[in-house]
Subunit: 235 residues, 2 copies
DNA sequence: GTAGATTTGTGCGTATGTATC
DNA sequence: AGATACATACGCACAAATCTA
């Protein structure tokens, strides 16, 4: 045989997932069952599952099983993109799940990006962006608290950066800079994005400012690389 | 024990790499030697190496050994960015290694992006972008051959898209669209980028056109996620 | 250039730990 | 509490790629 055993098993299982034999979220057979079915040692079946987990196709939970992961989406990125807006236009139904919302002293990078002194307060907002029930992104945003005293309450009520900023008198804002790189999912992100550890993430670090140039948000977003495509607008 | 054996070994080796005990490009001890040193089975040492390889910290070559990987760089991305230009400004010394340069019928996506009919000819240019000796990107670009008959020779001589297009009468061009996502390195890319299979890549798919809107290049570039940060220009 | 030694990759078998059901 | 299922770890054997004398 040209291929190794575990790769053959991986190929077979991938094909079955692609064919719909196993649906997203569905549990795969146990390692023991797969080993019996393919006539191999359990370790060999495990090797195939490990590769699929590493590729983000499935995720495994100790004591529970291996489950088929979710599917991709696209998401435009430009100077004036908004998360909700972009996904709505792509025909998805976006939601935000808020994990944290509180006022804290700014971190070093946050202070620098927002033009604050060390120790100045920022509103920190963390959460998960979802579409059609599947998590697409994990975000952490910081807003200068002194300039935007009521923003925390606005975010809690509206769950929208645009709406909350409007209440604070910031009628418009634009992306000043965006830096992109690829990272592997750490346990924390993997859990919230329902991905396997090590899955490829697209990290976006951006600064939003008023048209006058006053920074109002420093945000980092980790997108599930398999589920999202960012599009840089033409201009 | 709080941690697993293989994680302890991984932590120890990472610390030694971080401390400079092992330099980038340097070979680590053999699996057998590591197993002896840490008093574990070879498989356990292998598990630690596999995790580090998966994280892109080292890369392994069968029959040869495990080698410490290279480190990051930054690279700006905008409407008018050029690869060479961006890296020069970042204080790096960029180079291109050309792997392929020939004229072929356009692929489906290439034809669509360039506004060609199926079967029309394109110049295909593939290669690796390097800085300071470390590979940063693998690229494949397609140019419409009918519109740019002498481009292939221009690319071979100048090794520069901008210069070769200028010879063909295209004095200026801009990025029309850029789509970004994160992928895992396949064996092919891993080899050319000197990364491990599965390492996170930043995939950029872009179309360049003349100011008049005539598409002149359809390019895909896979950046080593650990070595490159793309920056989306403010305007 | 080649034969042999070295080194990583694959596979099986067994045992035990740990989280989940 | 017991059964189930994934995770870790050891040991042995051989294959495949590489390096070296």
């Amino acid at each position: 045989m040209a291929e190794t055993l575990w790769r053959e098993i991986e190929t077979a299982l991938k094909a079955e997932i692609a064919s719909g034999r196993y649906q997203p979220g569905e549990k795969l057979p146990t390692e023991a069952a797969l080993a019996r079915r393919f006539g191999v040692n359990r370790h060999t079946a495990r090797r195939a599952l490990a590769a699929m987990a590493e590729a983000g196709l499935i995720l495994t939970r100790r004591g529970s099983g291996a489950f088929v992961a979710f599917r991709p989406a696209t998401y435009p990125l430009g100077r004036r993109t908004r998360f909700h807006q972009g996904l709505s236009e792509a025909g998805r139904s976006p939601k935000k799940e808020i994990l944290r919302l509180e006022t804290l002293p700014a971190g070093k990078r946050e202070a620098e990006a927002l033009g604050l002194a060390p120790g100045d307060l920022v509103h920190v907002w963390e959460g998960v962006g979802l579409a059609d029930g599947a998590p697409l992104s994990y975000f952490r945003a910081a807003f200068p608290a002194a300039r935007l005293p009521g923003l925390k309450e606005g975010l809690a009520e509206t769950r929208s950066v645009t709406a909350a900023l409007a209440r604070e008198g910031v009628a418009d804002y634009v992306r000043v800079s965006t830096r992109l790189s690829a990272e592997r999912a750490r346990p924390f992100e993997a859990r919230h994005l329902r991905l396997a550890e090590g899955a490829p993430l697209l990290l976006s670090v951006s600064v939003n400012a008023t048209p006058g140039g006053e920074p109002v948000e420093y945000g980092r977003t980790w997108f599930a690389g398999d589920r999202v495509v960012l599009e840089v607008a033409a201009g």
